[in-house]
């Protein structure tokens, strides 16, 4: 009970702070007004949660193949569903930011947009496969296998895509993380950003837990009606 209140107050505080403290980008630059960069407090945690969901579903797919416990299949499926949700949200916030700064909602020369698109294609393939198999055991098995193959392909893509896009990328990494990979943020920005990250992660696990419980109840109901 207490942690729900913490999530509620914490996220509210993050929202208030994100709009009322100074923007992460101090002054308007050639790309747009400084206020636009406030989306960073929401967009980055969303993208982080989407990749967290992806990793989670991989782990549960491997555990399913090891144990053949249907519980893990439900967990992998739920993680994938939430992953799609957060990936779409991150894609929308990213597109809005792109429109405000670079003038276009979508740009094929932008690596992050392409990679989130491929992530959605992978999720799409996963769900298409699941809906095409009727038998629950076969479905669980095959979708676990394809998840692992997708994960390895995604690892390759992480290496491959920057190679083609190193010339083009416009993603504002330098403003937040400098070239040596160190975070250069002011203290306020840092506090707001990391609280947002924590709150989004907590929110994700809450929704995740709820969805699994709903899935369990549905499965039980299906069994009883049979």
């Amino acid at each position: 009970m207490w942690w729900k209140i913490i999530i509620f107050l914490g996220m509210s505080a993050v929202i208030v702070a994100a709009f009322l403290t100074a923007s992460p980008m101090r002054a308007a630059n050639s790309l747009g007004p400084a206020d636009v960069y406030r989306i960073f407090y929401f967009h980055v945690p969303q993208a982080w949660v989407a990749s967290l969901a992806f990793v989670l579903s991989m782990i549960y797919s491997i555990r399913f193949l090891k144990t053949r416990n249907m519980e893990y299949d439900t967990k992998a499926l739920t993680a994938n569903k939430l992953g799609v949700m957060f990936a779409i949200v991150a894609m929308v916030t990213g597109s809005i930011f792109a429109k405000m700064t670079w003038g276009e909602f979508w740009n094929w020369s932008e690596i992050r947009e392409v990679s989130v698109f491929i992530l959605l294609l992978i999720y799409g393939g996963y769900f298409a496969l699941r809906s095409a198999i009727a038998d629950p055991d076969t479905r669980a098995n095959l979708s676990a296998v394809i998840s692992i193959i997708f994960a390895v392909a995604a690892l390759f893509l992480i290496f491959v895509l920057p190679r083609i896009y190193s010339v083009f990328s416009q993603h504002p990494s330098d403003s937040i993380i400098d070239k040596s990979g160190q975070i250069t943020m002011g203290p306020t920005v840092r506090i707001v950003f990391f609280s947002s990250l924590i709150m989004f992660t907590a929110l994700f696990f809450w929704i995740y837990n709820l969805s699994i419980r709903v899935a369990r109840l549905t499965a039980k109901k299906m069994l009883e009606s049979k």
């Binding site: 076969t138 193959i149 390895v152 190679r163």
Partner: protein, 227 residues
Amino acid sequence: MPTRSISWVSKTLAVTRKDIVSEFRTRYAINAIVMFALVTLTVISFSIGLLSPSKEILSALFWVILFFASMSGLAQAFIKEEETGTAMILRLSCEGSIVFFGKMLFNFLLLLTLSILVVPLFIVFLKVVPTDWVLFIGAVLMGLIGLSGATTIIAAIVSKASVQGALFTVLSFPVLLPLLVAVIEITTVSFTGGTFADASAPLQLLVAYDVIMITLSSMLFDFVWRL
């Protein structure tokens, strides 16, 4: 255990030979793949033959043709087994890895036949000649190995599902994307007169992809094959 490994190889070749023989009877997969490739090639030649596309675009188009042509026929290897009910006999008579590598070799030979037909036509129709033939042929061969290695297990997965054809493409594309990126880059180098050194990074990537994908697929194959 030398005798065991010899019998493993000969059994694998037997699976491939069986597929080749049954393919020669119906010629279903090879017809689908070759016709698909010819149609795509013709469409591309008609639409851009009058323009003068850059070599980068041509090397991408070359792999688009090979990719979609292989999507139209490679899934057949397992779908046919499931449809005619011979999958069960195959499952009883030999272990998973033999079936996997046998089918993979068959798919590779199918793609090889396809590219022997398509490569000369592509060169003639689109007037592009590789300056470095060794690099070009190497890229094609390594690409085909990766293509057959990664799609064989997907074909096995798809054969257990409905709406097989569409699903096969949907599942294969994200998996093959790193391969396509690397192989298009190497082909571009071989068209534009670069050397091996220019293509060393994508070549390393391609080799790593082939090795890892084939190892992973052969490890996971039993989970798909023996349900």
